[in-house]
């Protein structure tokens, strides 16, 4: 009886699982396909290396690419050390079940769910006005860092927790200090988790619009310092698509560039993380 039911349910389950996976892949293929179809013809070397003209309807996106790169660099340069440090403190140097750890984890989970526009208003009030940074790449990057931190910390924490306790005990038995254990063993072993955190962080930062419009701003000139206002790719897409008559073709082209950039960064980070893990952990 049960054998016969298995005969039916097994292939059915397989079909369902294949279908869901197919739908997810189809959505991605459709999305990328649409971007390539509508924007592909316009992305060329000139588009990537010239400044926008006529509010973005003509010209290219060179200053916007540079601004986006700078905002992202500021964001990750601030968020990565802070995020790693906090996650290491929370998992390695404080008790998991203690009230401090629980309180921090809860607040991080809440922060991770806060809508980005709230971070935008916060960044505008703190960095742009209180600290006098004005509309600048620095304000934008720091605001994004605040936004990315909770996600980064939580992912790194998960990664660190996934490293078996045996590693720490063996290391202690061999007389290694906690710092040495962390640097040579725990961090390389936790690399997959750290990488997921970094990728999620970068992904959220590069796609951000709401948090940036009031911090890094709308100026599409080539930035000459971190104190200049600079428009990000996502704001450029948003403006072209919703505010500029005839802006749609370049909105698609810019979106395609944004997707391409994201794929490149993801590939790069994965490769670096893999290299780091390999160089540290030949045995694993």
């Amino acid at each position: 009886m049960s054998m016969r039911r298995n005969h039916l349910t097994e292939p059915l389950m397989a079909a369902v699982v294949w279908c869901t996976a197919g739908v997810v892949t189809l959505i991605l293929v459709w999305l990328v396909g649409d971007l390539v179809w509508q924007g592909g013809g316009q992305v060329n070397w000139t588009f990537l290396t010239t400044s926008p003209e006529k509010a973005g309807v003509e010209g290219g996106i060179a200053p916007i690419l540079v601004s986006t790169g700078l905002i992202l660099t500021v964001c990750m340069a601030v968020a990565t050390p802070l995020g790693l440090g906090t996650a290491i403190l929370l998992t390695e140097f404080s008790s998991q079940a203690g009230p401090f750890g629980r309180a921090v984890r809860l607040s991080l989970d809440i922060l991770a769910g806060v809508p980005s526009i709230v971070f935008g208003l916060f960044g505008n009030a703190l960095f742009s006005k209180r600290l006098g940074l004005g509309f600048s790449i620095l304000s934008g990057g720091l605001t994004l860092a605040c936004m990315v931190l909770p996600i980064l910390i939580r992912s790194v924490q998960e990664g660190l927790q996934a490293v078996p306790q045996d590693y720490r005990r063996s290391s202690a038995a061999l007389g290694l200090s906690r710092t040495a254990t962390l640097g040579t063993l725990i961090l390389p072993a936790a690399m997959p988790g750290i990488m997921v955190g970094l990728l999620l962080g970068i992904g959220r930062a590069i796609a951000e619009t709401a948090a940036l419009i009031f911090t890094s701003g709308y100026v599409d000139r080539m930035p000459s310092s971190l104190f200049d206002s600079g428009r990000s790719l996502s704001i450029h897409i948003y403006d072209l698509a919703t505010n500029i008559a005839g802006g749609e073709p370049h909105a698609y082209a810019t979106a395609l560039v944004l997707m391409g950039t994201l794929i490149l960064i993801n590939g790069g980070v994965s490769w670096l993380a893999h290299r780091f893990r390999q160089s540290r952990l030949q045995v694993i």
Partner: protein, 277 residues
């Protein structure tokens, strides 16, 4: 890389972040060679292009244009966060503390889908539609279909102007879709044959030129076009205005003069607005 690199880099990151924040005070954003504009998203692309030309002709001067909406422009100028604000309307009685410098004109037109058989709306009909007293196109001589009312978001000048013209109050409006910028309004109407909305005449006219599936409805019998906005016969029009708190300083005045001059008329027309004669 040795074992403690990560731990040693962490305080460095802190120090870097703090150091960057500490040295900001020397970089005051209101230096005399930098002018900051914030406000209306309708004016921002135009002001941005004017600023670019001004920078080209006056090397060393920087004009930063930020977006965010007319209300934000007024608030930022009052708080002195911005030097010049952008509003897509004239100033009203409560805003006498500000000085206005109009740079272009724009009209607001009612738009419907191209396939909508309704060719014009009276003011009473528009009021009826937006207060939900008329909710089917059949009542206006169209097909039997419910009307999708597209309204502008709170704080947008276009909304304020629309309310003022039709003597409506915001809470009485029953909207199905609330939109932000002009292009978004056009896309919404283009995508829904039963919708009605109101957007900038210039943007809508350019869409029609480029084959967008919308049409502009006349208002009080006057067709909605850049020409009727220009000769001031179109009843629902507005000034795109730059504002300052009190008298502008020399460098700000110079930019304001430039933005109001003949030298930028081609930019104004390029952005589908009407230059001031």
């Amino acid at each position: 890389m040795n074992r403690g690199t990560f731990l040693r880099l962490m305080p460095l990151g802190f120090a870097l972040a703090l150091g960057i924040q500490a040295c900001d005070s020397t970089n005051a954003s209101n230096a005399s060679n930098k002018i900051i504009l914030t406000g209306s998203s309708t004016v921002a692309p135009l002001a941005s292009e004017i600023a670019k030309r001004y920078e080209k002709e006056n090397p060393g001067i920087r004009v930063d244009v930020q977006s965010g909406g007319s209300s934000r422009g007024i608030a930022d100028v009052r708080q002195q966060v911005a030097d010049i604000g952008m509003v897509s309307r004239s100033l009203n009685d409560q805003e006498t503390d500000l000085k206005a410098f109009p740079i272009a004109k724009d009209g607001i037109a009612m738009i419907v889908h191209k396939d909508n058989p309704v060719g014009q709306l009276t003011e009473e009909q528009v009021i009826g539609i937006y207060t939900d007293k008329i909710n089917n196109w059949r009542q206006l001589g169209g097909q039997d279909a419910p009307i999708t009312v597209v309204n502008k978001a709170e704080g947008r000048s276009t909304l304020e102007l629309f309310l003022k013209h039709f003597k409506l109050e915001s809470p009485k409006i029953k909207a199905d879709v609330v939109i932000g910028d002009n292009e978004q309004g056009i896309k919404t109407v283009a995508g829904n044959p039963n919708s009605v909305g109101y957007v900038s005449v210039g943007t809508a006219a350019s869409q029609v030129q480029n084959g967008g599936p919308i049409k502009l409805l006349p208002l009080n019998g006057v067709s909605a076009s850049l020409e009727t906005v220009k000769d001031e016969t179109f009843p629902l029009s507005r000034s795109l205005t730059l504002i300052t708190k009190g008298t502008p300083n020399e460098s700000q005045q110079k930019f304001l003069d430039f933005a109001q001059s003949q030298q930028v008329h081609d930019i104004v027309e390029e952005q589908y607005f009407v230059p001031l004669s």
